[in-house]
C-alpha cells in the first residue's frame, strides 16, 4: 500500500532509497484524501483487532470463571502476526514493516495488562478488569474501529473518486480530522495504564456509576471529546464534498448508493454527536469540579454520604447519550449497506432494483433515527404515553431497513451472479443483518423488552447487526477496493477460507446468546451468570461461544496474512478488474494518481448500467457519452 497512494505507483525494487526520502512528506503529513483514507484504514483495523483481543480475553473468564488465563497465548497471537508482517514487509515496505511493529506493540500492551498482578493476580481476571475490558471493547469497536473504517477509510478513499472530485473539499480539515481521531485513540490506549485501569462503567458510561468511577473514566471522556471533534470535522467535509464537488452531470439521482449512505451518515454524525460532547463536558465537570448535573442529592456510597447536593438527574445523561448512540448505530450500518449495494450490483451484473426507493428509505431512516433513542430506556420508569411514542417510532424505523434489504435481495433476481470473495461477504450480510434486525423488534416493544432488556438477547441482537453484519460488509469493501489502492488483488483461496470460517464462527458465537437471553441471563456478568439458578440450564453455552470466538480469531489470521502479503505479492490487476460502472474504477487509473483523475470526467448516466441490452460490454461506465442504442434510454 506504501507506494499505492503516491503519484508514481510502480516502484521498482531498485528504487527503494528513492521511496525512503519521500516517506514522511508523502504519507504522514499528506493531505491527499487517498492517503488519509489509508491511514484511517490501518489505524481502524488495528483497533478492531485490539478490541477483538480484549473480548477474546473476556471470553476466557466467561467460559472458565476464576481459572488462571493463559496470557501468553493472547499476547502471542499479535506477536506472531507482528513477526510475520515484519517478515513480509522486510525493509523495503515502510508501511507494512511499521504495521508489524505496531502489532508487536499491541502484544506488549496485552502482556502488560495480563501480567499486572493488581488486575490479574495469579492470572485470574478480576471484576475490575472484566468491566473495563467490556467498556473498552464496546468503545473501541464502535468509535475507534467500525466508524473510522466505514466512514473515515472507505468514505475518504472512495467518495471523492465516485463523484469525480479531485479531493475532499477541505484537505487540511481532512488531515486534522484524522489526527484528532488518532489523538483520541492514543488517549484511550493510555487509559489502560492509569491507576484503576481503563474506563469500567460500560461503553454507555451511565451516571452516577461513571462519575464515581476510577481515573480511566476521565481519560475516556477526554478521548471521546477528541473523537467527536474528529467526526464533526469529517462530516462537514463529507457533506460539502458531496454537494459541491460532484462532477458535471453527476446529479443526486446518479450518485452511487454508497455515496448516498455516506451523505446521510455525515448528517447523523454532524447533528447527533454534539449533544454527547456537551454531555461529556458536563460529566467531566461532575467528576472534576464537583458539579452535580447527573448526580441526585443524598447519595450514599459504601456508607459515605457523597457531597453532591445540586439535585441532578441520572436520566439526563442517558437521554444525551442515546440521542447520539441510536443515530450512531445507524452510522455503523448505513455505510455497510452502501458497500453491500455496490458489491451486489457489480457482481450480479445488473442495476440495483428500486434504487430510488432505497435512496428515499435511507433518507427517511436518517430522519427517524433521531426520535427513537428512548427505546433503550423503557425500564427507567416510562409512562404509557411516551413509551407508546417511542415504540411506534421504533417500529416505523424498521420499515425502511426492510425496504432496503428487500430491494437488495430482489436485485439478485435475474442477475448473473459471480461468487467473488467480496460478493460472498456481501451476500452473507443480508441474512445476518436480517437476524440482527428482526431480533430488534421484540426489543422495540416495551412489554417484551421487560424480559429481554439487559440480557444476552440484546447482545445477540446488536452483534448480529454489527459483527456478521457491518464487519462482513467492511470485509467485502476491503476485498472489493483493495485492488484500487494497490493495483493488486487479494488471494481468492485465502479469502474464501476467511469467509467460510468467519461465517460459521460468528454464528457459533452469537446464536447461543439468544438462547441465554431468553433464559434471562443478564449481560455484563463477570462470571457469565454462574451464580443464578435460572442460568444453570444454559451455562454450558458460555464455553461454546468462547471457543467460537477464539476460532473466529484464528480465521482472521488468513485475512491479515492475505492482506499484507497481497500488498506486496498479490496478482497485478487491470485498470477495471471487476468491470465496474462507477467512476472510481472506470474513469481513472488503478491506483489513481494524485488529483485522482487525469481529466475530470463528465457523467452521462446512472451508477449501475450493467447488462444494458444491445451494448457491447455488460457494463456502461457512468462517463461514457451518448445514446448507446437508439431503442434504450439511460436510466437515472
Amino acid at each position: 500500500m506504501a507506494n499505492a497512494a503516491t503519484a508514481h505507483h510502480h516502484v521498482h525494487d531498485d528504487e527503494h532509497h528513492h521511496e525512503e526520502l519521500g516517506f514522511w512528506q508523502k504519507y504522514v503529513f499528506s493531505i491527499d484524501h487517498k492517503v488519509i483514507g489509508l491511514w484511517y484504514m490501518f489505524t481502524a483495523l488495528v483497533f478492531l483487532f485490539f478490541g477483538f483481543t480484549l473480548m477474546m480475553l473476556m471470553r476466557w473468564q466467561l467460559a472458565y470463571p476464576g481459572q488462571p488465563l493463559p496470557g501468553w497465548i493472547f499476547m502471542g497471537l499479535p506477536a506472531l502476526i507482528g513477526i510475520v508482517v515484519l517478515f513480509i514487509g522486510g525493509l523495503q515496505r515502510k508501511l507494512i514493516s511499521l504495521m508489524g511493529v505496531i502489532f508487536l506493540g499491541l502484544s506488549g500492551l496485552i502482556w502488560y495488562v495480563v501480567s499486572d498482578e493488581t488486575m490479574m493476580p495469579g492470572g485470574i481476571m478480576l471484576p475490575e478488569l472484566y468491566n473495563s475490558f467490556g467498556a473498552m471493547h464496546g468503545t473501541i469497536m464502535v468509535f475507534l474501529g467500525v466508524v473510522p473504517l466505514a466512514v473515515g477509510a472507505f468514505g475518504n478513499y472512495v467518495v471523492p473518486l465516485q463523484i469525480g472530485a479531485p479531493d475532499m473539499a477541505f484537505p487540511k480539515l481532512n488531515a486534522a480530522s484524522y489526527w484528532s481521531y488518532f489523538v483520541g485513540g492514543v488517549v484511550m490506549l493510555v487509559s489502560f495504564f492509569v491507576p484503576g485501569g481503563a474506563a469500567n462503567s460500560g461503553w454507555t458510561s451511565y451516571a452516577p456509576l461513571s462519575v464515581i468511577a476510577t481515573q480511566g473514566q476521565t481519560l475516556w471522556l477526554f478521548g471521546m471529546v477528541a473523537l467527536i471533534t474528529s467526526s464533526l470535522l469529517g462530516s462537514v467535509n463529507f457533506i460539502v464534498t458531496i454537494i459541491q464537488l460532484r462532477a458535471k452531470g453527476m446529479t443526486f439521482m446518479r450518485l452511487p448508493f454508497f455515496v448516498w449512505t455516506q451523505f446521510v451518515t455525515a448528517f447523523l454524525l454532524l447533528l447527533a454527536f454534539p449533544p454527547l460532547e456537551a454531555a461529556g463536558v458536563m460529566q467531566l465537570m461532575d467528576r472534576l469540579v464537583g458539579t452535580s448535573f447527573f448526580m441526585p442529592s443524598g447519595l450514599v456510597v459504601s456508607g459515605q454520604i457523597l457531597p453532591y447536593t445540586g439535585g441532578g438527574s441520572p436520566l439526563l445523561w442517558q437521554h444525551l447519550f442515546w440521542f447520539l448512540a441510536h443515530p450512531e448505530v445507524y452510522v455503523l450500518i448505513l455505510p455497510a449497506m452502501g458497500i453491500v449495494a455496490e458489491v451486489i450490483a457489480n457482481n450480479t451484473r445488473k442495476p440495483l432494483w428500486g434504487y430510488k426507493s432505497m435512496v428515499y428509505s435511507v433518507i427517511f431512516l436518517g430522519f427517524m433515527s433521531f426520535i427513537v433513542w428512548a427505546h433503550h430506556m423503557f425500564m427507567t420508569g416510562m409512562g404509557t404515553t411516551i413509551s407508546t411514542f417511542f415504540q411506534t417510532t421504533t417500529m416505523i424505523i424498521s420499515i425502511p431497513s426492510i425496504i432496503i434489504l428487500t430491494a437488495l435481495i430482489i436485485s439478485l433476481y435475474g442477475g448473473s451472479i459471480r461468487f467473488t470473495t467480496p460478493m460472498l461477504f456481501a451476500l452473507a450480510f443480508l441474512p445476518m443483518f436480517g437476524i440482527g434486525g428482526l431480533t430488534g423488534l421484540p426489543l422495540g416493544l416495551a412489554p417484551t423488552d421487560i424480559h429481554l432488556h439487559d440480557t444476552y438477547y440484546v447482545i445477540g441482537h446488536f452483534h448480529y447487526v454489527v459483527a456478521p453484519g457491518t464487519i462482513f460488509a467492511l470485509f467485502a469493501g476491503l476485498y472489493y477496493w483493495f485492488p484500487k489502492a494497490t493495483g493488486r488483488k487479494m488471494n481468492d483461496k485465502l479469502g474464501r477460507i476467511h469467509f467460510w470460517g468467519s461465517l460459521v464462527c460468528m454464528n457459533l458465537v452469537f446464536m447461543p446468546m439468544f438462547i441465554q437471553g431468553l433464559a434471562g441471563v443478564s449481560r455484563r456478568l463477570y462470571d457469565g451468570g454462574a451464580q443464578y439458578s435460572h442460568a444453570q440450564g444454559v451455562l454450558y453455552l458460555n464455553e461454546v461461544m468462547s471457543v467460537g470466538a477464539w476460532a473466529l480469531g484464528i480465521f482472521q489470521l488468513f485475512f491479515i496474512f492475505n492482506f499484507f502479503w497481497s500488498i506486496k505479492k498479490g496478482e497485478k490487476v487491470s485498470e477495471n478488474p471487476w468491470g465496474a460502472t462507477t467512476l472510481e474504477w472506470a474513469a481513472t487509473p488503478t491506483p489513481p494518481p494524485h488529483g485522482n483523475f487525469l481529466t475530470i470526467p463528465e457523467v452521462h448516466r446512472g451508477p449501475y448500467e450493467y447488462s444494458v441490452p444491445g451494448y457491447k460490454d455488460d457494463f456502461v461506465p457512468q462517463h461514457v457519452d451518448g445514446q448507446l442504442v437508439p431503442s434504450q434510454k439511460t436510466k437515472v
Binding site: 464533526l232 462537514v236 454537494i243 449533544p275 463536558v281 464537583g290 458539579t291 448535573f293 439535585g311
Partner: protein
C-alpha cells in the same frame, strides 16, 4: 488538480465551499448549545426550587455585555461591507474594533467570574451556577476562538487582499457568519440565565 468552488460559487447550489462548510459547522453548534439548553430546561423543571437569575447575577453588567456583542456584530458586518466596497482602510478599522469589542466582552466576563470566585462561589455551588458557568464558559471559549480568527484576518491574513481580494472577502464573510452566531447564542443565553 485544483479543488473547484473555493472562490467562485457553484452554479447549481450558488455557494462556495467554505460558506456551506461554515453553515454546517454552525448547525452542529446549534445542537451543542441545544443540548446544554435542554439540560437547563430538564434540570430546572425537575428541581423543587430554582433561583431567579436576576437575584444572583449582575444584570446591568450582562446587559452592557449584550450591547457590546451586538455592536461587535455590526462592526463585523461593516468590515465585510467595506471590503465589498473595496475600502480596505475602513475594513481594518471595523475589523479592529470588532476584535477590541471582543476584548471588552471578555474583560467584563472576567469581572463577573472574578466577583463570584472572590465570594467563594464556584460551579459546584448549585446546579444553577453549574449551568451558568458551563454555558457562559463554553460561549466564552467560542468568543476567544472567533477573536483569534478575526485577529488573523485583521493582521497577517489580510495580505491576501492584495493577491486574491474576492477570496479574502469570502473568508471575512465566513468569519462573520461564525461571529454573528456567537452573538446569537448570547442573545438566548442572556435572558435564559440572567432574566428568568
Amino acid at each position: 488538480m485544483q479543488i473547484p468552488y473555493t472562490v467562485a460559487t457553484r452554479p447549481d447550489t450558488g455557494l462556495f465551499n467554505a460558506k456551506l462548510g461554515v453553515w454546517l459547522f454552525l448547525a452542529s453548534e446549534v445542537m451543542l448549545f441545544g443540548a446544554l439548553f435542554s439540560s437547563y430546561i430538564l434540570l430546572r423543571v425537575g428541581a423543587p426550587t430554582w433561583p431567579h437569575g436576576y437575584d444572583l447575577l449582575n444584570v446591568p453588567l450582562a446587559t452592557f455585555n449584550t450591547v457590546v456583542l451586538i455592536t461587535s456584530s455590526i462592526t463585523m458586518v461593516m468590515a465585510w461591507a467595506s471590503l465589498m466596497m473595496k475600502d480596505f482602510k475602513k475594513y481594518r478599522i471595523y475589523m479592529g474594533s470588532t476584535f477590541l469589542l471582543g476584548v471588552v466582552f471578555l474583560i467584563v466576563k472576567g469581572f463577573e467570574y472574578g466577583g463570584k470566585f472572590s465570594h467563594g462561589i464556584f460551579p459546584s455551588e448549585s446546579t444553577f451556577y453549574a449551568i451558568y458557568f458551563t454555558l457562559t464558559g463554553l460561549h466564552g471559549l467560542h468568543v476567544i476562538g472567533g477573536m483569534i480568527v478575526n485577529a488573523y484576518f485583521w493582521g497577517s491574513g489580510s495580505k491576501m487582499w492584495k493577491s486574491e481580494p474576492e477570496r479574502f472577502t469570502n473568508r471575512v464573510e465566513v468569519a462573520g457568519l461564525y461571529w454573528h452566531f456567537v452573538d446569537l447564542v448570547w442573545i438566548f443565553l442572556f435572558p435564559a440565565l440572567y432574566l428568568l
